[in-house]
Symmetry: C2
Subunit: 323 residues, 2 copies
């Protein structure tokens, strides 16, 4: 009797600095991984050649290990078309505009990759193999330099009529509020992202408020959200105030998610989620203090489990046969 | 050859003041309608008896007209369970708490009605027979005393994991903003509903700002949103400022809908939508001025078409066989 070969897919997480890649099982286990610099400055073709090289390497590995390769998934930041396999405008790959990456890769290796927004891919990975396991619907906020989001409804990624749904970082939480990188004012991202948090701390230090972080500014260094979180934990009053405000805005983000989608679970991921309970507890407390009881209960809010590999795992899961 | 009988369903729109009812075809045509006072002060049983009376009357009409009765749909305001047929907490039927209305009606007439939130029912009616015809996804904001909403995704009502999705009037658009009837602060409803609009005008008049509306206040009468809209159209500067602010908040509501759901269309309905272009144009202009181009295009924003009958039509459509 022959054993059924293990199914795997190749996941590619295309970032501005690095390309992460791996051979992934349906359970989200990474059998083999490889990360190389993107070298985005050398142009689109060069980057695609590097991606193709990674795919070829993983494909050979699958063959030699007698694994059944279901397909290839590619995760990319920014606007893109999953349907047409086109990277439209990735913020950290400045020369990439309307690149039909699925066509390019298919022409080179004879396999058409499944393209997915990186926040969606990460949400899919957490849903299947991480903090979202066991539910049918969840919303994930990825708290990094910006705020990305991925929405799962009826166990499927929710993409919207033009594949633009789930830009929850750019929902407006203050009329005429802080300017956001997207061009809007008052976006959740402008307040509660890592960069928004750092900027709010910096502004208050520049305005003369006392803080242990002032010495960093005096040295000409930039403040980041991790420094704010650490200083808040160490008792710095300004940092505590800024961090508390970040968590209140995130609580509003979570309340608005519930009012819109009523998901079973909300997952917080990305760099800022490494603060763990220091982030989670005030967000939950803020939700409970600000949300109306009349409109239903708070869903579970959890920290993501898969870390930086979520993007490549999710990209691969998108290309894996589910049976 | 016998002609196939026309399918119809009975729609009931249970309101605090009136119960509207009608026999409705799959195309949303009302064959016969009847409206009676709710007489909510006489208790739950009394109101259910009145509903049952309307159903019996419509059922006899269907029989005598040789129409095929597919079922009964009931629309009710406030929180409820569509799945279990329970009215949980309707704001304008104060003594109704956890009333298993579907069980009660089924026990009396042998037909189980399909229960639906009235904003969802109205959205379904507009989707099938009104301003939402021809698209697959839409979000409707019902601008009345409060702000209700109904969400259609893949041609189906979107209800969420606990049937609490689509409470978009209670998404927060200002941290620590105006108090809302739901207990939260800064809800869209607190700013952009008819009552929120009237309250903002009243506060500014009370604070001494000049306005043609001040004479109404001086007479001891209440200002309503229609008066604000009319005064704005007549050139009153305060009313124009208040109305403009309402439209800007509604524009933010629409932007946030697009960021979350990316629907094909947004429909504005309810009493305030009778202002027509006087509402629609500034909302669209506000959307275009405040929304980022990077995040995709503006969907069509339209005024609802079905008026006050949308609730009963949608309630009936929910109970009609679609074939």
């Amino acid at each position: 009797m022959t054993e059924t070969p293990t199914h795997v897919a190749i996941g590619i997480d295309l970032g501005g600095t690095d390309i992460k890649s791996g051979l992934v099982t349906p359970h989200g286990t990474i059998v083999k991984s490889e990360t190389i610099p993107t070298e985005a400055n050398k142009g689109v073709d060069h980057v695609i050649t590097r991606i193709v090289g990674l795919i070829e390497s993983h494909r050979q590995c699958a063959v030699s290990e007698s694994l059944h390769l279901d397909g290839v998934g590619v995760g990319s930041p920014g606007t893109l078309s999953h349907e047409r396999g086109i990277v439209i405008a990735p913020p950290n790959l400045p020369n990439w505009r309307n690149v039909p990456i699925a066509d390019h890769i298919e022409a080179r290796i004879g396999l058409r990759p499944v393209l997915e927004n990186d926040a969606n891919a990460a949400a899919l990975a957490e849903f299947r193999c991480g903090a979202g396991r066991g539910c049918d619907s969840m919303v994930m906020l990825t708290l990094g330099t910006g705020i990305g989001s991925g929405i799962i409804v009826d166990s499927q990624l929710f993409r919207g009529s033009n594949e633009n749904a789930g830009e929850l970082g750019h929902t407006i939480v203050e009329l005429d509020g802080r300017p956001c990188n997207c061009g809007q004012r008052g976006c959740l991202e402008a307040y509660a992202s890592a960069s928004g948090t750092a900027a709010r701390a910096r502004e208050r230090i520049d305005a003369g408020e006392a803080s242990s972080l002032a010495s960093i500014v005096a040295q000409g260094r930039e403040i980041d959200a991790t420094m704010v979180a650490d200083a808040a934990r160490a008792g710095d009053a300004l940092a505590q105030s800024v961090w508390r405000e970040t968590c209140r805005y995130l609580a509003i983000g979570c309340i608005n998610i519930v009012r819109a989608f009523d998901p079973e679970r909300i997952i917080l991921s990305g760099g800022m989620s490494h603060a763990g309970d220091h982030l989670l507890r005030p967000v939950i407390a803020g939700f409970d203090a600000m949300a109306s009881d009349m409109l239903g209960n708070r869903p579970e809010i959890r920290i993501a489990e898969l870390g930086n590999d979520a993007g490549l795992v999710g990209a691969a899961l998108n290309a894996i046969r589910s049976d």
